[in-house]
Amino acid sequence: MTYRIQQEARKESLMVNMGPSHPAMHGTIRIMLELDGERVLNAELEVGYLHRGFEKICEHKTYFNLLPYTDRLNYVSPLINNLGYVMTLEKLLGIEAPERAQYIRVIMSELSRVSDHLTALAAMTMECGAFTVFLYMIQAREEIWNVIEQTTGARMTTSFIRIGGVRADLHPNMDPLLDKAIDSTRKLMKDCHGLLDKNKIWINRTRNVAVISKEDAINYGFTGPCLRATGVYYDVRKAHPYCVYDQLEFEVPLGDNGDNYDRYIVRMREIEQSLRIIEQARKKIPRSTSPSQLMAEGIEPAEAIKASRDKKVEAKIQLSPNLEGSEKEVYPDILSERKQYIVPPKEDTYTNIEGLINHFKFFMKGHGIRPPKGDVYFSVEGGSGEVGYYIVSDGTDKPYRLHLRGPCFHIVAALEEMILGHYIADIIPTFGSMNMIGGELDR
């Protein structure tokens, strides 16, 4: 089948391929262009270069095992993808995370949102020539990622948010690092505002470029910053509040034009709001009920396993650093009480028979998490819009069907139309402002 653009081609125009491997194409995506000089007459997108069969794989994995795959969808804000999947499943199972876990989820997803927006804007500005801004933003992102790394143990593929709660409690030494991250992000954002907001070159490149109207944006299924840039008030956190967002104060920044500049400024303001949410959540988070924050005391794990061969071990067990924050005592704070849905504490698994049985029941094929029959849709506010999951369960331990509503799928679908009549050079900031993420788009 020939491409639409070839069928519609005019006689004297020039056909140019942009991508699939092009420095400005963030990942791999191909834009076929029909040009008259520098003007875009017609465009067609070809996607699917990053298709990994996410949905097919999920049908063959258990509910617990497929969690790491959700990290790889939007790989700059993996925590929000985890959250979306986990909360969809929780809705199906009818469980709720403890309050402290919900605050941890909010803090983590806001940190991810900041890093997502920073990445999108950094790429967009760099492609317009503002390399200083790129470096500033990447520096701020680095600080944010340090905080994420400290608690979750990973920078990108975190798999931190678990069914019924989170994997670990916040790191005991998180406060100074988070302070530093928030302060330096604020400072760097101020510099970026100063460099760009009234910059003539930046304004010329972005103002009134790739304008999309309210009606068109809704018709295309836009969500997130791209929709709000057109002036439509819709944020999943406000419309369908989840976790503890209804107890936190924040604003939803709106644009009015729906052009590239508005998408930029909305993202910049959202970063500020996200930092505000983090600060509030830090103050409001219920205190941990665990007596000690650090688990240096207690007997050696190896000793405990040896002792458990003769009789039940009552003493406290010192844990290895890679399980930091997930010792038995903090479980009530961060995970649901419903034992059949959570990984049992490692101390129990290795030292007593009930824990071992729990462990087997959780991980064995055909046992594990088996939601009731039915289907469910749930969505959270991701970095670039509404991240929704549609899960169909047939009562077994694997999803019968799992479908992702990726926000940038709908946004990138509009690119063909948005760049018509603009110059080639305008494609770059337009594409950057959409925050196309290959993992989420191609699945």
């Binding site: 089948m1 639409r4 996607v47 699917g48 298709h51 069969g53 949905e55 097919k56 794989i57 063959h60 809705k91 199906l92 068109d216 809704i218 018709n219 295309y220 299924g221 439509v232 008030y233 819709y234 419309a239 369908h240 039915g374 289907d375 469910v376 849709y377 509404e386 929704g388 549609y390 169909v392 019968y400 069907r401 479908h403 509503r405 799928f409 709908h410 679908a413 509009a414 139309e417 191609d442 699945r443």
Partner: protein, 163 residues
């Protein structure tokens, strides 16, 4: 909200008594099951006030292999003004599954339907450009169908020649 929610499905039931087969609220998600031939008509009706379900949030398909009406199309509509979602389900037969395209109403239906065509082989009548979205031309079969094996390999396609 609760009274309004009931309204959408109730009004639909009154207005299209033969087309609406079932109404349910699993886990609070409003769901209606309708006949395939009424899709465009019902969607046109829902887009207008007072329901204003103006956004096509999602469109996908589920393969119930072994059943006579094998495929189930699932549409999620959303109204920004009323802040409510509606799920529409339609069953399609195993042989030559086809349904009206929603491209005249929603622009993002174009890509969403291409994806479903690619993954499930559902035909959308009236779609302007029904071409595989993620897979390449020359790919055989539809990967998300339940009878497509997980680890099936496809032969390499020959290099495209310059014409």
């Amino acid at each position: 909200m609760a009274t309004e929610k009931k309204k959408v499905t109730e009004v639909l039931k009154d207005k299209f008594p033969e087309k609406v087969k079932d109404v349910s609220f699993p886990l609070g998600d409003e769901t209606i099951v309708i006949e395939a031939d009424a899709l465009l008509e019902i969607c046109r009706f829902l887009m207008k006030d007072p329901f204003a379900l103006t956004m096509l949030l999602d469109l996908t398909c589920v393969d119930y292999i072994g059943e006579e009406m094998r495929f189930e199309m699932v549409y999620h509509l959303f109204s920004i003004t009323n802040n409510n979602r509606l799920r529409i389900k339609i069953r399609l037969p195993e042989k030559d599954p086809a349904i009206a395209s929603l491209t005249p109403l929603w622009k993002n239906a174009n890509w969403l339907e291409r994806e479903v065509y690619d993954m499930f082989g559902i035909h959308f009548t009236g779609h302007p450009y029904l071409k595989r979205l993620f897979m390449y031309d020359g790919f055989e079969g539809h990967p998300l169908r339940k009878d497509y094996p997980l680890r099936k390999r496809q032969p390499m396609i020959p290099m495209r020649r310059k014409e």
